[in-house]
């Protein structure tokens, strides 16, 4: 899913940008409608409304898998250091999606360093109060993108406060770092994503065509994850409320105009086929995207615009009123209020 190597992204983006820019010029006519009249099925009710502030519509039917932040720990290390998992669970308990959005925004928009941002959050949240004390060297892995780096630094700070000699080790993609976590020789802790990790292990244990066990229910997914983790010599902590998963965003103006805050409400308000959906090229074919929105929520779309996977093109298209609703990631720094 979305936490994989992003090396090819620069290449892919060049192409996407060209197409998307061209689209934007030729088809940007849908802006004249203004805010629709509170759900009247006039055929113009849900045309895009420009606005700077983006808000996520709640996925009230749990179409998306729960990708909550969850600490992944090498099982042998966790057994040898009983203080390790409680310290990481303290982070899970304190971290919220709003926090995650602000942490990402501090790095991606305000250009603070991931270390500073992590230190400030740990101090502010007070998670280090009254932690059980442990000892020994712990290497926390972090992938090469903002959120993972910040979370790895938060884990390392908290573990240091809990008496461990913690350090952050930069890693590459999941296919490589998860085996390293399982062996435990190079890294022992990693800030994972619940459903993504669950399905990764599920495919490793039960083969590439394994029946998916992750779902939109975080607790059910965590329960399904435990046996898979045990078979691989891993231990997962408590999933946090904070999640980075696929989400659908609209502009604040659009949401206020229609008075909607969930996808179900949007489906009720927008039955006239005037919605313009924006997302990655594969969106019309993938169950979590257009087909899922249509089947699970009964949404109907007048048009689909091919943009990127929660990237700057989708966000810019939303803000400029070229699409009504677009696929984003729930912890994106661009969702920060203000």
């Amino acid at each position: 899913m979305h936490r994989r190597p992003r090396i090819l992204v620069p290449l892919a983006l060049a192409g996407v940008l060209l197409t998307a820019t061209a689209c934007g010029e030729s088809g940007s006519s849908g802006t004249g409608g203004g805010s629709g009249g509170g759900g009247s099925a006039s055929g113009e009710a849900c045309v895009p409304v420009a606005g700077d502030q983006l808000v996520v519509l709640e996925d009230d039917q749990q179409l998306q898998n729960a990708d909550n932040i969850v600490p992944a720990v090498n099982a042998a290390t966790a057994q040898a250091s009983p203080a390790l998992l409680p310290a990481l669970d303290a982070v899970s308990a304190a971290l919220t999606t709003e926090d995650l959005i602000e942490l990402n925004a501090a790095v991606d928009v305000d250009r603070q360093s991931a270390e500073e941002v992590a230190t400030a959050w740990v101090e502010e949240s007070g998670v280090t109060d009254g932690l059980e004390q442990g000892s020994g060297a712990i290497a926390v892995g972090g992938a090469n993108f903002t959120e993972s780096t910040v979370l790895a630094n938060i884990y390392a700070n908290v573990l240091t406060a809990a008496g461990f000699d913690a350090s952050v080790r930069e890693v590459g993609n999941r296919e490589l770092y998860l085996p390293a976590l399982i062996s435990g020789s190079e890294i022992q802790v990693f800030p994972e994503y619940l459903s993504t990790a669950t399905e990764f292990l599920n495919r490793q244990v039960n083969g590439a065509d394994a029946e998916p066990v992750a779902s939109g229910d975080a607790q059910a997914t965590a329960t399904a994850l435990q046996p898979l983790a045990e078979q691989n010599g891993l231990l997962f902590g408590e999933p946090s409320e904070a999640a980075d998963q696929n989400a659908f965003a609209v502009t604040q103006e659009f949401a206020d105009g229609l008075g909607v805050s969930t996808l179900s409400e949007l489906a009720d308000a927008c039955g006239d086929g005037s919605l313009v959906l924006g997302g990655p090229a594969e969106c019309p074919d993938r169950p979590f995207c257009q087909p899922g929105l249509e089947d699970t929520y009964g949404l109907t779309f007048g048009e689909f615009r091919e943009l990127d996977a929660g990237g700057p093109l989708t966000k810019a298209a939303l803000q400029q009123g070229e699409i009504s609703i677009g696929l984003v990631f729930s912890s994106d720094g661009a969702l920060a209020q203000g």
Partner: protein
């Protein structure tokens, strides 16, 4: 999970493009304060980049030299040796690292080092072989007539005469390796490539990307100039002939 493939968090604003989220805050291409604030990180990556490059080229040369000599001595072998080193070069680096990782440790820099070493072979073996084949047969014949043994013949006749081609090979291999190290990002050992990909993943942080990219270019230039200097020092006769 709803798999979208890689998650691109970057955007490049080209002329006439819509205002991207990346442009909301100041995001200059060149930002000296980025370099000064992150000096230790940058130097750390630079060090790794240099270690990987030097290691790969040295190891590559040590392997390429016997292969080139073998290929010169036994004509039947020269085809397979050259062919094999070329075939290795066609393996995509991403696939190569993924293939090596289970054997070398998933996060270790050794994975990248072995991959890069194999890639240098296509350049080094060809150049070394061309250099040795260009040594005139009558010169070698004369040296043997004067009682040169195989070791002395190699050190005092073959090597000096092949040196320009050997050094040319080392220079090309070094410059291409500096560029290739960045692909090591998938194992977390990409030298300055960590900055380039890290910048893309941090909402297109231009200063970070440019620092990584310019660092690579400067490193390649410096390495090439240094090797050119070494070549000059080692082959004083080429200048004497011109004077």
């Amino acid at each position: 999970m709803a798999s979208l493939g890689a998650r691109p968090v970057l955007g490049a604003a080209s002329d006439g493009a819509p205002v991207l989220a990346a442009d909301e805050a100041p995001n200059p291409w060149f930002d000296p304060s980025y370099v000064t604030d992150n000096w230790d990180t940058i130097v750390g990556y630079l060090g790794q980049h240099v270690r990987l490059t030097v290691g790969a080229v040295l190891l590559g040369a040590l392997i390429a030299l016997p292969l080139a000599l073998l290929a010169r001595r036994t004509r039947v072998l020269s085809g397979p040796v050259l062919g094999l080193s070329s075939v290795v070069y066609t393996i995509p680096s991403l696939a190569m690292f993924s293939f090596l990782a289970p054997f070398t440790g998933p996060l270790s820099a050794t994975t990248v080092l072995i991959g890069l070493t194999l890639y240098t072979l296509v350049i080094l073996v060809r150049n070394f072989l061309a250099g040795f084949q260009a040594v005139p047969a009558d010169v070698r014949e004369a040296a043997r007539g004067m009682g040169y043994g195989p070791g002395r013949l190699f050190l005092q006749v073959d090597l000096p005469l092949a040196l320009p081609a050997v050094m040319a090979g080392l220079r090309i291999a070094t410059v291409s390796t500096v560029a290739l190290v960045t692909v090591g990002v998938i194992t977390g050992n990409g030298g300055l490539g960590q900055l380039i990909v890290g910048g893309f993943n941090a909402n297109f942080y231009r200063a970070e990307i440019v620092t990584g990219a310019l660092g690579c270019v400067l490193l390649a230039l410096v390495a090439d100039v240094l090797l050119a200097g070494v070549e000059r020092l080692l082959t004083p006769w080429t200048r004497a002939a011109l004077a």
